[in-house]
């Protein structure tokens, strides 16, 4: 699942979006998004990516900057190059040493997120 790179949309580095984004396919964000992201699959915030938004997804990998709350059905990974300010909520959260993170972490299934909960964490 984590290596399903075949169909990944890339939101390029010069793209800027303000508003609401919904998607059902893996997406890598290298640009800037302000607003909210509602996602059914995996979201990768690339090293050049900048997200000022609340993010909901199945899985979130952060290599770039995120300001806002994130909640994932499966997992959130904050890598070394990431700068995150916000609260994380997922059954599994990992933060790599070296990452810049300010916020709270809640490790449980995200009841407050999207519908169709898989009942993970029970």
């Amino acid at each position: 699942m984590s290596t399903s790179n075949e169909r990944m949309s890339v939101f390029g580095p010069t793209l800027r979006f303000k508003g609401e984004l919904k998607a059902q396919e893996d997406i890598k964000i290298e640009g800037r998004i302000e607003g909210s992201i509602h996602h059914q699959q995996k979201v990768v915030v690339g090293q050049k990516g900048e997200v000022v938004a609340t993010v909901n997804a199945a899985q979130i990998d952060v290599d770039g900057r995120v300001q806002g709350d994130m909640s994932a059905k499966k997992s959130i990974k904050v890598s070394q190059s990431a700068v995150v300010r916000g609260n994380l909520r997922a059954p599994s959260v990992s933060i790599t040493e070296g990452a810049n993170f300010n916020g709270g972490v809640t490790m449980e299934s995200n009841a407050g997120s999207q519908g169709s909960s898989t009942g993970a964490g029970r």
Partner: protein
């Protein structure tokens, strides 16, 4: 009068007709955007967008793409659905599979046979053409020659 001609700074080098496809960013069919999208790289849009797109390079709305709102870019290629106005500083191409409802403002417009288009086309729109129009001579009132004529007429 010669002053006007010297004002044409060297025309920008003709843009390569086909910009590198490898750098094109593709936004997939399940993406739904609601809001404003800005970009400075070639973009192929297969998703759905409600709102506006402002782009400085080439933008193509793919077969599965749909846009409800206005589009501004340098080159626009439409293969999908657009409900809204399209402004391009260079050209707009409406492909066969396209469905477009709205007005087009661009110096060059192509509509393929089989395309579904309803709206009007303006090839002389200032906003669209201003950056690319080659050497249109403008006489401004601050031009010394014009001013001399005016003051002479007034005097």
């Amino acid at each position: 009068m010669s002053k006007n001609f010297t004002e044409n700074k060297a025309a920008p080098p003709p843009a390569p007709a086909k910009e590198v496809a490898s750098g094109t960013c593709v936004l997939g069919p399940t993406l739904h955007f609601k809001g404003e999208l800005y970009g400075e790289e070639d973009l192929e849009f297969q998703g759905q967008l409600e709102g506006s797109i402002e782009h400085t390079r080439s933008l193509s709305i793919g077969k599965e793409g749909g846009v409800t709102g206005n589009i501004k870019a340098k080159f626009v290629i439409v293969e999908g659905r657009v409900d809204g106005d399209i402004y391009a500083s260079e050209s707009v191409q409406i492909r066969q599979s396209a469905k477009v409802k709205g007005n087009i403002f661009a110096p060059r417009v192509g509509i393929a046979d089989g395309a579904n288009f309803s709206g009007s086309i303006d090839m002389n729109h200032k906003g669209a053409a201003a950056t690319t129009r080659p050497a249109t001579v403008q006489v401004t009132l601050s031009d010394p020659a014009a001013e001399r004529l005016l003051t002479k007429a007034a005097g």
